[in-house]
């Protein structure tokens, strides 16, 4: 059993579960936020939202544009979406296509998986 960190999404996981079965990581989608920045409407990853951006929120029953640094607790941010990462990793077995990588859990030390992404790093073996 090894503890791994996905180099695409930085998620950590054990490659063999406590029940002894293999675990196959797949990256989560990225949350995308609709903002207005420098007068331009655009969609950015949640990690890239700036305090000076404006977002549309539901406040007191009305949709209003508010600067991120001035948001109130009961504001409901509108227009959020999700998107797949371009470097998404998916360790589930590929029955068709996919990519082959070295994996001690596979036959002859290799497995064909759906997407290698940026690979994974062993954090603790």
């Amino acid at each position: 059993m090894a503890r791994k960190r996905c180099n695409s999404c930085q998620g950590e996981y054990d490659d063999v579960g406590a029940d002894g079965l293999l675990y196959f990581h797949s990256c989560p989608p990225v949350t995308r936020v609709r903002v207005t920045r420098d007068g331009q409407a655009q969609t950015v990853d949640v990690a890239d939202v700036r305090p000076t951006d404006s977002v549309r929120v539901q406040r007191a029953g009305r949709a209003v544009d508010v600067v991120v640094s001035e948001l109130q607790p009961d504001d409901v941010r509108l227009g959020d979406g999700t998107g797949e990462r371009p470097d998404r990793r998916d360790e589930n077995a590929a029955l068709l296509g996919g990519e082959e990588e070295a994996d001690a859990r596979g036959r002859e030390g290799r497995r064909r998986i759906k997407a290698i992404g940026r690979g994974a790093t062993v954090v603790r073996s």
């Binding site: 996905c6 999404c9 930085q10 998620g11 950590e12 996981y13 054990d14 063999v16 579960g17 406590a18 029940d19 002894g20 079965l21 293999l22 675990y23 196959f24 990581h25 797949s26 990256c27 989560p28 989608p29 990225v30 949350t31 949640v46 990690a47 939202v49 948001l71 109130q72 607790p73 009961d74 504001d75 409901v76 941010r77 959020d80 999700t82 998916d90 589930n92 077995a93 590929a94 029955l95 859990r105 596979g106 036959r107 497995r111």
Partner: protein, 276 residues
């Protein structure tokens, strides 16, 4: 060479009623799908040759552990196949975690043709399958294996996402996860969504708002109604008896998610069947 009429008459009392005449072009083809590491299948059997003398045979098959089908063949020679038995060695899978089929085929390689299925069903280290005797069974017609899984611990600002593995089918039972919000002023609502790999078809949203700088433990399970928040715990009802094929996902969609918000690794319970 096929037996003569005299040989057949002499041997008939010794042969089982289900005995099958096979030649050197006949093979046993073992196909397995399996989820447990180190599983090997032990095949044993008996044949009666043209002279009427029985001889025993044995073979071993190595299964994969990622639910991808593995195959192996064993040449039979000429005679009457009397019985075979198949069991698990090397590991102790739960019922439903190892599944195998033994076919009688003619020829080897891509051009082979199957002309009989002798064994089909789940196996454990204790529960074997035999021909003649065992019924042919299907992966989805029997109870699945109950699994408690620890999912990926996502990075800060990322949602939870767990995918039904290739070759599996899940029935979702429950999920528990700790969620910590950063100092950004906003009320978060972590819903649990189910999608087909792309499109969400069901979503269970809590009726509690999690404010900044708080750690709540969220529970998602089919209890019929969302329960009011108690202390720092929330219970949200999910659709009952939710069946998820391979490639489907269960994931959180959190309203007002912030870059510093952090989910811990989810712990979830499913019933799992092999699907092949």
């Amino acid at each position: 060479m096929p037996p003569t009429a005299d040989e057949l008459l002499r041997l008939l009392p010794q042969l089982t009623p289900h005995g099958v005449y096979v030649t050197g072009d006949d093979f046993l083809l073992i196909t397995s799908i399996n989820t447990v590491a180190s599983v090997r299948l032990a095949l044993g059997g008996r044949m009666v040759g043209a002279t009427g003398r029985p001889h025993h045979f044995a073979d071993s098959h190595v299964a994969t552990a990622d639910r991808v089908a593995a195959t192996s063949v064993m040449r039979l020679g000429e005679g009457w196949l009397q019985e075979i038995t198949l069991g698990v060695t090397g590991a102790t899978p739960q019922f439903g975690q190892t599944f195998a089929r033994v076919d009688l085929v003619r020829g080897d390689g891509p051009g082979r043709t199957a002309h009989g299925t002798l064994i089909q069903g789940p196996l454990t280290a204790v529960q074997r399958r035999a021909w003649p005797g065992s019924p042919l069974e299907f992966t989805l017609g029997l109870p699945g294996a109950i699994r408690s899984l620890t999912g990926t611990d996502p990075a800060a600002g990322a949602e939870i996402s767990e995918t039904v593995p290739t070759g599996a089918r899940w029935r979702f039972i429950s999920l528990r996860v700790s969620f910590t919000t950063d100092a950004t002023v906003a009320n978060r609502t972590p819903a649990l969504a189910f999608d087909d790999g792309t499109n969400v078809f069901a979503q269970a949203a809590p009726n509690v708002n999690q404010a900044a700088g708080a750690t709540f433990v969220h529970h998602y399970l089919a209890v019929g109604v969302n329960h009011a928040q108690t202390s720092l715990s929330a219970q949200t009802s999910t659709p009952p008896n939710l069946i998820l094929p391979a490639g489907f996902r269960l994931r959180t969609i959190t309203g007002a998610l912030q870059v510093g918000d952090n989910f811990a690794a989810p712990q979830y319970l499913v019933e799992e069947w092999l699907e092949g």
